[in-house]
């Protein structure tokens, strides 16, 4: 019996392979998950976009749950998600802070004036160093950070209604308890 089964080994290997490929079809190979989930959000101290004389440090935000949204005036996809952020800000559920990534402050201010400003404050990351610390590789990206300063979720790419309602807001509500 084992002798006959030997001939079926290639078929068995193939079936396993197809199973993996099938699952793989549902994945996006370009997405790079963040290794910072459940790790402390990297510290920063940057000047604010609207009031350049003031700075904002990551430590200032301890005690609240907050979102960090990485955006830029040159980023096309950011315009797609921006209305959602504006709407979210109006609901006053969770403060949204912006990281103006590799941008000229003037361009950033002008862009917010044109498209609306949902951010409690935006900070300017001129050379992208804070972005690198956060593992930013594409814009826009959004982080959910809890009261103790731990990153709990990262959204790669523009926010969508489903992600917001289905993943982010429930998580925020849970963290706020």
């Amino acid at each position: 019996m084992t002798k006959a089964l030997r001939w079926a080994i290639p078929l068995a290997i193939f079936i396993v392979l197809v199973a993996f490929l099938w699952v793989g079809l549902g994945r996006d190979p370009r997405q790079v998950p963040s290794p910072l989930i459940d790790k402390p959000a990297p510290a920063f101290r940057l000047s604010k976009l609207q009031t350049p004389d003031e700075t904002l440090a990551s430590g200032d935000l301890r005690g609240t749950v907050w979102l960090l949204n990485v955006w830029a005036s040159w980023c096309v996809s950011c315009r797609v998600e921006h209305p959602l952020l504006v709407q979210l800000a109006q609901q006053n559920v969770v403060p949204v802070y912006g990281l103006d990534y590799k941008d000229q402050p003037d361009d950033g201010r002008a862009w917010l004036a044109q498209h609306g400003n949902p951010y409690t404050a935006s900070i300017v990351d001129r050379d992208g160093r804070v972005g690198i610390d956060y593992g930013v590789y594409g814009v826009p990206e959004t982080f959910v950070i809890d009261k103790t300063g731990i990153i709990r979720y990262k959204q790669i790419g523009p926010l969508t209604e489903e992600v917001l309602q289905g993943r982010i807001l429930p998580l925020v509500r849970e963290l706020q308890r």
Binding site: P10, F14, F20, L25, D28, P29
Partner: protein, 665 residues
């Protein structure tokens, strides 16, 4: 009108392919000659129809018909004629049509050159190829139709990707597909043998030339792709272990194992089920490659724009074709019967070891390519597997196989003697070792890896010389020419192909061991010494092109003060897409290439000032592709052996009559 004709021809071709598969299969099962006889004309008709379809698409491209969606997306009226033609296969849809064309072409070839095959067997072969054609044409017609119209028509096309506007685009895909698709013939032969329940040396003799020709084309196709990447991508690399490169390399490794395994089955009747499995695996890897490139499952510079629906279709097709074949194999292979008998030291055992090493190497490449996907599918995170892995794993696996190349051809069939082999080969071995140890000193620096690579290459060469010398010495002919003529083309084909491997190894070893790269800022008039040469940058000039604007640099190359050549690297901006391309300037030489490409302009006034220039010295790099071409020519030479041709058909005809009678029950 023309696109509609093409579309219609493709639909007709699908219908013919369905008939081509179903009718002969039923006929073979029932032993009905009239049904089986449908196979050959159906195969030929299918080919004609696909040619019409392909010609219609090509005509739309050449004629700048921007009412066809595919043409508007991939071409442009400023595009030179040869690239408008090549753009026919520049997209996912078009390249699938090329696949279908190649497949029907190979089918037609089988119908024309297989008069000596028994009708039952031939009917099954053509039917199996028809089934694959059905799959591909359904795929094209249902998910990837190149003839779709764009309403309203575009005024101008979006242009072919500048990276593809190159002679490489005209020849690399057709050659590659000839190889990829050509393995379908070996596959069909294997399935037909399993269906018929008979597998013998004659089957291997029929299968061998088809397989070797496909393998030769695949060799050429891969070599062309590598050479094209080298001069087009601007940084002198020639192999990246990119998933799509691996997707073509795995069938090649399997195909190499297959042609050697077929040799054993033909001559000794051994390895029968193993050969059949290899034939199935080789073509399965071709199909897997098609899946990987088009499904979006892996990131690759070669990947076409992807669509999940297409991925699902190909995966289903793959599951049916390969799963079905392996199931048939599981069911029937045991009944095929055990082959010949041979000793531990024999040519058979050497070839078996060669096969196992090649397949382990192929499996390792597969493992490395798919491992990121495995981990991701299991939610274990995302990793990357790149050249450091493949280099570390592949070369140690192939080194013993290469070493065996020196021993196998000299070992006797069935039972060889190690002491005899050692006596015959010890001088070849010694010379190779000594030369390999000494040569690196004359070339620059010594390193164990360089010496090892050189040893393997020289070992192939010296053992081949010994092989030929012994052949001539034991020949019954008188006179050198007569002795040489007494050997068959397939013998010289083997020698040439093996020498090709040696040449290839020299190229790889010496390039990796001695290449030099310099990334420098050069002002106009400034020189930099690299290797034994001096490179002097003389600034850039604007230059127009047919569908681009270019900035052309001038770099003088001197050696010992004497001007050897002037190189003109370019930076092009293509009109339609705005894309920038770096065109390297390469001085090709047998001893090595001098390779210069422009980086970025560094001065504020942009073009007139200093530039970042990349200079490479690539010793013996053209031996890599030269070796590959020698391998392919060796393969084609072997196929020209007359035992595959008419004189032998008389004997095969009587064998065919015998096996037809036997298969009728």
């Amino acid at each position: 009108m023309i696109p509609e004709i093409g579309h219609f021809a493709l639909i007709l071709a699908l219908l013919v392919a369905i008939a081509q598969s179903a009718v002969p299969l039923v006929g073979a099962a029932m032993g009905e000659p009239r049904l089986m006889a449908v196979a050959r004309p159906a195969g030929q008709l299918q080919f004609l129809l696909v040619v019409v379809a392909f010609a219609c698409l090509a005509a739309s491209f050449v004629g700048n018909d921007f009412s066809v969606q595919n043409v508007a997306a991939n071409s442009n009226s400023e595009l030179p004629l040869r690239y408008r033609f090549a753009a026919t296969w520049g997209s996912h849809e078009g390249s699938l049509l090329l696949w279908a064309l190649m497949l029907s072409g190979w089918t037609c070839a089988v119908t024309l050159f297989s008069r000596h095959l028994p009708p039952v067997f031939l009917a099954r072969v053509i039917a199996v190829m028809g089934l694959i054609s059905v799959g591909f044409m359904l795929f094209v017609l249902l998910t990837s139709n190149p003839f779709e119209r764009l309403v309203p028509p575009a005024a101008e096309g979006r242009d072919l990707n500048p990276l593809l506007q190159d002679p490489g685009m005209v020849i690399h895909p057709p050659m590659l597909y000839m190889g990829y698709v050509g393995f379908s013939v070996a596959f069909a032969f294997a399935i037909a043998a399993l269906l018929g329940g008979r597998l013998d040396a004659t089957w291997a003799r029929w299968s061998r030339p088809w397989t070797t020709v496909a393998w030769a084309f695949l060799t050429i196709g891969i070599a062309l792709g590598s050479g094209w990447a080298y001069y087009t991508l601007g940084w002198g690399g020639w192999w990246f272990w990119d998933p799509v490169e691996n997707a073509s390399f795995m069938p090649w490794l399997t195909g190499t194992a297959l042609i050697h395994s077929l040799a054993v089955t033909e001559k000794r009747g051994a390895f029968k089920s193993w050969t059949v499995l290899l034939a199935i695996v080789a073509f399965s890897l071709s199909l897997l490659g098609t899946f990987l490139v088009r499904s979006g499952v892996l990131t690759s510079v070669h990947a076409f724009a992807t669509d999940p629906a297409r991925g699902v279709f190909i995966l289903t097709f793959l599951a049916i074709v390969v799963g079905g074949s392996l199931a048939l194999f599981a069911y029937r292979a045991g009944k095929v019967g055990l082959g010949g008998v041979f000793g531990v030291v024999s040519r058979e055992s050497a070839l078996l070891a060669n096969n196992i090493l090649l397949i382990v190497a192929m499996a390792s490449v597969l493992l490395g390519t798919l491992y990121p996907l495995f981990l991701d599918a299991l939610n274990l995170g995302k990793i990357s597997v790149g050249p450091p892995y493949f280099d570390a794993v592949f070369y140690p696996l192939l080194a013993p196989a290469v070493f065996l190349m020196g021993i196998g051809p000299l070992a006797r069939w069935s039972q060889a003697s190690l002491p005899t082999l050692w006596t015959r080969l010890r001088w070849a071995f010694g010379v190779a070792v000594v030369a390999a140890l000494l040569l690196p000193f004359t070339l620059g620096r010594w390193s164990p890896l360089i010496a090892a690579g050189l040893f393997l290459a020289l070992w192939i060469a010296t053992s081949s010389v010994v092989n030929l010398r012994d052949r001539l010495a034991s020949s019954h002919q008188t006179g050198l020419l007569a002795k040489l003529a007494a050997n068959s083309p397939s013998y010289y084909g083997m020698l040439l192909a093996h020498l090709g491997v040696a040449v290839f190894i020299i190229g790889v070893t010496l390039v990796k061991g001695y290449e030099v790269e310099q990334d420098v800022r050069l002002d106009v008039g400034q020189s930099v010494p690299v290797g034994g040469y001096e490179f002097r940058f003389l600034g850039v000039q604007p230059g127009p092109g047919p569908n681009y604007r270019a900035v052309i640099g001038t770099v003088e190359v001197r050696k010992d003060g004497r001007l050897i050549q002037t190189l003109h690297p370019e930076k092009r901006i293509y009109n339609a897409s705005g894309q920038t391309m770096t065109i390297a300037a390469i001085a090709v030489g047998i001893g090595g290439d001098r390779y210069v490409s422009l980086g970025e302009p560094l001065a504020a006034d942009n073009l007139g000032g200093a530039w970042a220039v990349r200079i490479y010295l690539k010793p013996f790099i053209d031996w890599i592709w030269g070796g590959a071409f020698l391998m392919a020519i060796g393969g084609l030479l072997a196929v020209s052996d007359r035992r595959y041709r008419i004189a032998m058909r008389r004997r095969d005809a009587s064998l065919a009559a015998g096996s037809a009678a036997a298969a009728a029950d």
